[in-house]
């Protein structure tokens, strides 16, 4: 700092004072004031700021500034990331999904106003846990498919209507979405389903009786169908 610190108003040295002698430099001369203030850099604000951040999500929701709220639901497959918008459920992500990437995609597809919120995701988390405990067959929360375009969205909308405990084929879904010959496109849309379990793509199987694929492995599809009491051909 040196003299440049005097750029403002020049001050007369105080008679007998030490201000002048020690200078006003924080780095060198400020033996007491400077170190005392700088020592605050080591103070732990981690916990306080974390609590304040939790409060922020609540305040943001009340102020209508929370476009996407996310949280975690327990499941037999591990914690599922769930994200809701004012329109409904927009994402269910299996544990192996990279969380940062999931949130970044939501930021691009929906809005960067994304905060973790236990209360805003409370309903869907409870309903998913009830589903896995066999106590729930229908989810009451709506789905937000606004990030999915065109034919894919229609396929997913139709898939959302397949009842608990029943199955349909990929060809069925193509037909219901309005393009009977677009079986492969229907399969692609289901493979990219951003809301698995709640938009039950696990209830869509192959025409010949084969199960077809599933995100993270067909064993998950089997587990979900067995949970729903669906009789699977070739399985005990």
């Amino acid at each position: 700092m040196k003299k440049s610190a005097d750029a403002g108003k020049r001050q007369e040295p105080r008679p007998g004072g030490r201000t002048r002698a020690s200078g006003l430099s924080i780095m060198s001369g400020g033996r007491l004031i400077g170190p005392r203030l700088q020592s605050m850099q080591r103070e732990p604000f981690e916990e306080r700021s974390r609590l304040a951040s939790t409060r922020l999500a609540e305040a943001a929701g009340q102020a209508g500034l929370l476009d996407v709220a996310y949280g975690y639901a327990d499941s037999p497959f591990g914690p599922l990331l769930v994200a809701v918008t004012p329109r409904g459920l927009a994402r269910v992500a299996y544990p192996e999904r990279d969380e940062e990437e999931t949130l970044e995609r939501l930021a691009v597809e929906i809005s960067p106003r994304i905060l973790e919120s236990g209360s805003a995701t409370g309903q869907i988390r409870r309903e998913l846990e009830e589903y896995f405990e066999g106590r729930r067959k229908v989810f009451s929360i709506g789905v937000d498919l606004s990030a999915v375009r065109g034919f894919g969205r229609e396929v997913l909308r139709q898939t959302a209507r397949i009842p608990f405990g029943s199955v349909a084929t990929y060809r069925d879904m193509a037909t219901r979405a309005g393009s009977p010959r677009a079986t492969r496109a229907a399969g692609n849309a289901l493979g990219a389903n951003p809301i698995p379990i709640v938009v039950p793509c696990h209830r869509v199987v192959r025409t010949g009786g084969g199960l077809g694929g599933y995100t993270g492995g067909v064993e998950r599809k089997v587990a979900l169908l067995e949970l729903e009491g669906v009789e699977l051909p070739g399985r005990a």
């Binding site: 700092m1 440049s4 610190a5 005097d6 750029a7 403002g8 108003k9 001050q11 105080r14 004072g17 030490r18 201000t19 020690s22 006003l24 924080i26 400020g30 033996r31 007491l32 004031i33 400077g34 005392r36 203030l37 700088q38 020592s39 605050m40 850099q41 103070e43 732990p44 604000f45 981690e46 916990e47 306080r48 700021s49 974390r50 609590l51 304040a52 951040s53 409060r55 922020l56 305040a59 943001a60 102020a63 500034l65 929370l66 476009d67 996407v68 996310y70 940062e100 949130l103 970044e104 939501l106 930021a107 691009v108 809005s111 960067p112 106003r113 994304i114 905060l115 973790e116």
Partner: protein
């Protein structure tokens, strides 16, 4: 100065991160800055105001070039607003609460002690400039940008703040 918009983030191609990531990256820094400028009792409320203002403006950001400078600019304005509001109304609570009463875990006497009381008795702008410079170790160019003032004005604010602190502080007594 309060009417000026926050300095635009520097040009860059980075995407705007999800707000939660942005919050995680800067929350400790912002909280520390506010605890120093408005005090631990009011830091929480001003923290909320700061990040709610950021959240409101967030989708309009064009790029993620200088998000740290952006949030510190908002925090600076909110700290100055809070300090001015506080100086206009009498406060029934004592200036220096007991350390044992500090909520949220470990006591931090450095924020509660007489030096910090003296810092928070400084005029708002000088106080904010001082904390930027000394607590956050910000270069003058950056603290000036965050406060929407010139680098010379920022230097003068820090200088005046330190001078006032020294005048009000008896070195000899403290050294015993």
């Amino acid at each position: 100065m309060l009417d000026r918009p926050a300095p635009a983030p520097a040009p860059g191609n980075q995407r705007i991160p999800p707000f939660q990531s942005f919050l995680e990256e800067h929350r400790t820094l912002v909280y520390r800055f506010l605890a120093a400028t408005v005090g631990p009792d009011e830091a929480d409320d001003v923290f909320q105001e700061t990040f709610l203002a950021a959240l409101r403006a967030y989708p309009k950001l064009k790029h993620a070039g200088n998000l740290k400078g952006w949030i510190l600019a908002i925090a600076s304005r909110k700290a100055i607003d809070a300090a001015r509001a506080r100086s206009r109304r009498p406060r029934p609570v004592p200036e220096l609460p007991e350390i044992a009463d500090v909520p949220g875990g470990s006591p931090d006497p450095l924020m509660q002690g007489p030096v910090w009381a003296a810092v928070r008795a400084l005029p708002p702008r000088q106080r904010v400039a001082l904390v930027h410079r000394v607590v956050l170790d910000q270069p003058y160019a950056e603290l000036a940008a965050a406060m929407g003032i010139s680098a010379d004005a920022a230097r003068a604010d820090v200088y005046q703040a330190l001078r006032k602190l020294r005048e009000g502080w008896n070195d000899d007594e403290e050294e015993r």
